[in-house]
Symmetry: C2
Subunit: 253 residues, 2 copies
């Protein structure tokens, strides 16, 4: 029987800059009786990675550029917030009232370069969190830490919620991976009847990221780390760029 468990790790403490996420994840998973098993996928909310790495910006210490003020005018956003977004932006794609969609310096197409004001600190949005500098590197370090503590080899995904073209509602997507191929290529496999399947490449890391989001929640019951146990994936070096379509190949950018 094929089954997969999505196990929220309970009682994770509030994360502060400098915290050792691997150690906290292992401790809380053990205390809850979940443990860490070989080939588990450990999905971690971007926000706690950003916090642990100190990727925090205080709006009061941010001086908006002329361009930030101009975009703030169009988007009706705080110019200091826009300045922080631009600091992590490769190019601005769309602007409008309440709307700032960019290509993040790492290639993600998302609102506000993934910068978020909620759940960062107890100051009503005054402190904001940027995405980790190198999410694959963050995932890799946490994976190494988990292996050092438990002896288990896992995959690690850092996830975030991104909006999408064509469809309403944000969904969990991977922004950093370690220990798995984010894509599963099913081209050339045979289907149930032996017919050669046509082009089908599955965004496995994004499906795992969305599944974990179901357990994480966004608000006061937040569960920032979810263990996915029993899922099929291909072990391999993680490279989030495999999931991002090159601009030149994108028909809708």
């Amino acid at each position: 029987m094929r089954s997969v468990s999505l196990l929220g790790i309970p009682n994770m403490p509030m994360i502060k800059p400098g915290d050792d996420l691997a150690a906290l994840i292992c401790r809380c998973a053990t205390e809850a009786g979940l443990g860490i098993d070989e080939d588990d996928v450990v999905v971690i909310a971007q926000k706690i990675v950003s916090k642990a790495e100190g990727r925090l910006v205080r709006l009061s210490e941010t001086v908006p550029s002329a361009r930030a003020r101009e975009i703030a005018e169009i988007t009706q956003k705080d110019p200091r917030f826009v300045e922080a977004v631009l600091s992590d932006t490769g190019r601005v794609l769309r602007t409008g009232p309440g709307l700032l969609i960019v290509e993040h310096r790492l290639g993600f197409v998302c609102a506000n370069a993934g910068v978020d004001r909620s759940n960062v600190a107890g100051d009503a949005g005054e402190t904001i969190a940027l995405l980790p500098l190198d999410p694959d590197g963050s995932a890799s370090r946490i994976r190494d830490g988990i292996r050092a503590i438990t002896g288990q080899t896992v995959a690690v995904i850092i996830n975030d919620s991104h909006g999408r073209a064509f469809r309403e509602g944000a969904v969990g997507v991977a922004i950093g991976v370690a220990g798995l191929h984010p894509l599963t290529d099913e081209r050339g496999q045979s289907d149930l009847f032996g017919y050669q399947m046509q082009v089908t490449t599955i965004g496995t890391a994004d499906e795992l990221a969305s599944a974990a989001s179901l357990v994480m929640g966004q608000t006061d019951e937040a569960t920032p780390v979810v263990i996915i146990r029993g899922a099929s994936y291909r072990r391999g070096p993680g490279d989030i760029q495999e999931l991002l379509r090159e601009r030149a190949k994108d028909l809708f950018r």
Copy 2:
């Protein structure tokens, strides 16, 4: 502890036109000892719904129009296949070698209007399957059938794998829903620190559809029905249109 189980229903038979999916799902779930619980989300692969409803087309009986032949030339696809795609298409959005992206008559933006040649019948792609005529209606009838047999009120999602703008790899998305609101609106809720959350609407039905895809697989181990047990969702009438952005509001179409 927050946890969610993704339970593939084993031993589902090959589906033929006229099959009663609700009855087969309940029987196989019971025989496997899974049963059906109140508030389960039953996710069903589009292909078996299409088959049960007889949404099958034999290419040998399809006569391509001039427009189908023209698009077949550009896309290097079988003109009879293109004809079938056009029969379910609202408008063609992008064409290129190997590429035919359309707005399905129901509003989905996807390749080939969701028409698929694999796993349909044992004739090497000669028989193809169109999407169900009314996926919400299909989901609703299956939901009613499950309630009639088991007494349990569940949500039903019909899922398919769609490609996306910006990111590589197809992921599971909902194409029909019954018994749940496909979107979860978290605007106005407070975050962990009491800060009012900014605009956040989650595409819950798509996250559920992606999670189920992890268990379904695409090839010869296919598991076309997955029970999701323990997930939070809002009961309500299902309307897939809530998940589809109106063309006028879409910045990337």
